[in-house]
Amino acid sequence: MGGFLIRRLANYVLLCLVATFLAYALASLTFDPLARLAERNPPPPAAVVESMRQELRLDEPVPQRFASWFGGVVRGDFGRTVTGQTISDELGRRIGVSLRLFLLGTVVGVAAGVLVGMVGAVRQHRPADYLGTLFAFVLLSMPTFLVGTLLKFGGLQLNLAAGTTLVYFTGEYDPGLRGGWGSALVDRLQHLVLPTLTIALHQIAYYSRYQRSAMLDVLGSEFLRTARAKGLTRRQALLRHGLRTALVPMATLFAFGFGLLVTGSVFTERIFGWYGMGDWLVYGIEQQDTNIVATVTLFVAVMVLVSGWLADVLYAVLDPRVRIGSLGGHR
């Protein structure tokens, strides 16, 4: 087991390296961070541009620049931005912002998605099923910024109706807030509601479709009939035997869905003014900043690989056929 895990980990590191290098190379070759200097009015003296060029080491070949940048990464130093700030300082905060959003969004999305899917399967061809299907397809065909904007609008109406600010539209917290620990938490939650919902709604729609078909497969199965023949009521059998088994194929989906959230969260973070990783990627591109783009890419790569690992673990937890490598296994 140990040797296997180490081999696997080595593979992961290599994959991260390749992904980051590709992003770094692409960014370095297309970005021109000096262009903005040249556009200034009055134009800065040539010496300033030159010293900038020196500082960003734009004359060195890309692999060499990547090697020295990555050497820093290994030591925990992600380099500097074009504007001279250290990336490492901001990285931790931004990861925190994003993960808070992702984790909460995923938990809500998975739980509600499974529920909607299961209800749809159990009540197939009845109003609840049609409603769930309609909801899923409408949401799946809507771009995130539209969902976000609509939620903002909805939140505004809610606030107006309530006569007080129930939910906030921008930022993670109110900088001017005074009060104790309790009111800080409430404030943070008020800021969290809308962006979390934006991320979760999409996932609910997505997962509910898969969960519905996984559950439909299980509904016709013989072990469900056995469970009822034992004397379990329909509801007990559905929950204990049906849902539990239908969750197995979903594990992979959940894990990878989480890993790929970063790219999907770009719009959400922008719309609600959350300075997370998605927002940073867009900012990096605006600033023509190779180091930021490479850092975010590395983060995405790590997320995806951790998710892959998580998927395997989840699968093993949910399905004994994988857990115990039996001799007859054809997997």
Partner: protein, 703 residues
């Protein structure tokens, strides 16, 4: 066996009072074509401790009617009539009320043990759940009771195995687990729906034994639903024959088997090949197929297929009426009295001509031309273990198999699942160099074949698989499916056009079938299409992998007769694999018995079946149920213990010794020989075509 009886429960009935009484049961489902009337006016009763066998083909309503008793039909089903359990009406009870009866007073055992258990819970937990569902006991107590139950149904090391998951159990073991759940609360009624259909004969015998034990321990009445008349003959006290949703004949098992009075029952009995019959008689196929349950024919629903129907039959559906002077034997046929008077046998009623003359007894001169020669064939699969994909061992699926097939010969390969039959077939069909050993087809060693030669050999070697629906492209009309092999091999268009109707006629289909899609055909017709497709290239050798096991008895008979006839007419050779020994005895000229990747006995079919020498062959034959209650009662069974050992780690010396009854009875000295020396395959010695791989082979009467 104790369980808490709630005060609401009806008391245990006095003897003579039925456990279950079904009357006027009607079940229908909605379908696009209209309402499907799956069960129509069914009535029967089951007494305590009695086994009622319900027999019928697929679609006869036998499973639906028992699901109705359990209250487990889908929401779309409409059920009416009366189902009285211990005098209490079950129809109309809510799911909650029924849940209190299900699993406690009425238990059910299902057909396919592979899918009847939830894959994600351990077997111990699933049995314990059955215990806890009705008895307010602690988790620990339920787990202890689960082990007790698993032990009772014959799971070795029950305490340890309770933690195993369903996929780690063989089919027979899983069925034992299902039975353990069924008897957890000492039920009054056990409904067993095709409980042994998916199992090997040896395991079937074990499971039927467990069911008998269950009945003895619980004193429950048992409803045994099956399509296998052999199983019914051995186990049931009374029989109910169903056709198109109705009971068409009922009586004691002796009455039904000895004096059937309904033409359908007669047909079913005649359609069955028998393992205890040396003489080849043609089987009785029942023409046509069961009627659509949406639009039933007027009058008797069997009339359209009935060989003795008269115009009167279409006037009204005959009721179940007493025959033979009203001794509990009842049949639904207006001509049952005439049938009784004439004492006709199925072949006469169904006008079946002998397909070929009975063969001369004694050794048969074998044809000289060898079509397929297999020498020391080996196929090993590496096994990897778990998530780590570590190489954990070798499955010795085929481990030195030698046989040959001469022209015009049908060679049967039998053995339990996992013995390597299918792997052997696949190795031969692959036409690739085997890992070890040689395969020569029509005199050519497959090692020497290049691409073109391999293609040429494929023409002479064709195959028919088990499931005709799965082996036909659902989007390809029948004519195109039959024409495809000829197109692949570059036959001229004109020739294909002429040959397709020829082929369809050859297998008993009409040209009008050419434009139909597989879904429009019945199971038997589909298998005929597969046979026509296999014959399109005029092969010399046809490999038949369980060609009739997916078909109903009456349909199966027609396909077997067809295979027999084609072999004689076209001089084909067959390599025939089937788990049903009765079918093999009927079709094969020579038989090989496989065990754990080896052939343990091979020879002329009559010799091997009639005078089996290897203890494994004897055990297999002894486990095959015979559709004759008198014979069944008189038979002494050899029940093999346990399952097939893992082919990754076969026992030393003789591979069969771990399950061998002969070995168990030997002296310590002789046993040591079994354990150390791998028995070679030796000819019997008197010049007969019969070879056995056993140190201590001796004859024994098993049929």
């Amino acid at each position: 066996m104790t369980s808490a009886h709630s005060p609401l429960d009806p008391p245990k009935a006095a003897p003579g009072e039925p456990v279950l009484e079904v009357s006027d049961l009607e079940v229908s489902f909605p379908s696009e074509a209209g309402r499907v009337r799956a069960v129509r006016g069914l009535g029967y009763r089951v007494d305590p401790g009695e086994v009622l066998g319900i027999v019928g083909e697929s679609g006869s309503g036998k499973s639906v009617s028992s699901l109705a008793v359990m209250g487990l039909l889908g929401a779309g089903a409409r059920v009416s009539g009366s189902i009285r359990f211990r005098g209490r009406e079950l129809l109309g009870l809510s799911d909650g009320e029924l849940s209190r009866i299900r699993g406690r007073r009425i238990a059910m055992v299902f057909q396919d043990p592979l899918s009847a258990l939830t894959p994600v819970y351990s077997v111990g937990d699933q049995v314990a759940e059955a215990v806890r569902t009705h008895a307010g006991v602690s988790r620990r107590e339920a787990a202890r009771r689960a082990v007790e139950l698993l032990d009772l149904v014959g799971i070795p090391n029950a305490a340890e195995r309770a933690g195993a998951f369903p996929h780690e159990f063989s089919g027979g073991m899983r069925q034992r687990v299902v039975i353990a759940m069924a008897i957890a609360h000492d039920p009054d009624l056990i409904i067993a729906d095709e409980p042994t259909t998916a199992l090997d004969v040896t395991v079937q015998a074990q499971v039927l034994d467990v069911l008998r034990t269950a009945r003895e321990v619980t004193g429950a009445g048992i409803v045994l639903i099956t399509h296998d008349l052999g199983v019914v003959a051995g186990v049931a006290d009374r029989v109910l024959v169903m056709y198109a949703g109705r009971a068409v004949e009922t009586g004691t098992v002796d009455q039904i088997f000895a004096r059937p009075r309904m033409p359908y029952t007669l047909g079913l009995l005649g359609a069955l090949p028998r393992v205890d019959e040396a003489e080849k008689r043609p089987l009785v196929p029942i023409d046509g197929q069961p009627p659509s349950l949406v639009q039933l024919p007027p009058g008797c629903s069997f009339a359209p297929r009935c060989p003795v129907s008269v115009p009167q039959c279409t006037l009204g559906e005959p009721a179940l009426a007493p025959v033979d002077g009203g001794t509990g034997h009842r049949a639904a046929c207006i001509r049952s009295d005439e049938i009784a008077r004439s004492e006709a046998v199925p072949a006469e009623i169904y006008h079946v001509e002998p397909v070929r003359p009975a063969r001369e007894p004694g050794p048969v001169q074998r044809a000289s031309r060898v079509v397929l020669q297999v020498r020391d064939l080996v196929k090993h699969y590496p096994v990897s273990k778990g998530l780590l994909r570590r190489r954990a061992g070798l499955i010795r699926a085929v481990d030195g198999v030698t046989f040959d097939i001469r022209q015009g010969e049908a060679f049967g390969l039998v053995g339990e699942s996992g013995c390597g039959k299918t792997s052997t077939l696949m190795e031969i069909l692959g036409l690739r160099a085997p890992a070890a050993g040689t395969v020569r087809i029509l005199g050519r060693d497959v090692v020497e074949l290049d691409r073109r030669a391999r293609r040429a050999v494929r023409r002479d070697l064709q195959v028919v698989f088990q499931d005709p629906m799965a082996s036909l492209d659902p989007r390809m009309p029948v004519g195109a499916a039959v024409a495809e092999p000829m197109e692949v091999h570059g036959y001229p268009r004109e020739r294909i056009r002429r040959r397709v109707p020829e082929l369809l006629r050859l297998v008993g289909l009409g040209f009008e079938h050419a434009d139909r899609y597989p879904v429009e055909l019945s199971g038997g017709q589909r298998q005929r299409v597969c046979i026509a497709r296999a014959l399109a290239l005029e092969p010399k050798l046809v490999v038949l992998d369980e060609p009739v096991s997916a078909l109903d008895v009456s349909i199966q008979a027609g396909v077997i007769n067809l295979l027999d006839e084609l072999k004689d007419r076209l001089g084909l050779s067959y390599l025939f694999v089937a788990h049903d020994l009765s079918v093999v005895r009927h079709v094969a000229d020579r038989v090989a018995v496989m065990y754990l990747g080896r052939i343990v006995e091979v020879g002329e079919a009559e010799t091997v079946f009639g005078a089996a020498l290897h203890p494994y062959t004897q055990a297999l034959l002894s486990a095959v149920p015979v559709p004759d209650p008198v014979t069944e009662r008189a038979r002494e069974r050899i029940v093999l213990t346990g399952d097939l050992p893992s082919p990754a780690d076969p026992p030393s010396g003789c591979r069969f010794r771990t399950r061998c009854f002969l070995h168990a009875a030997l002296s310590a000295e002789d046993r040591a020989v079994c354990a150390t020396v791998d028995p070679p395959r030796k000819p019997r010695g008197d010049g007969a075509d019969h070879e056995v791989a056993c140190h201590f082979a001796r004859p024994r009467k098993v049929l």
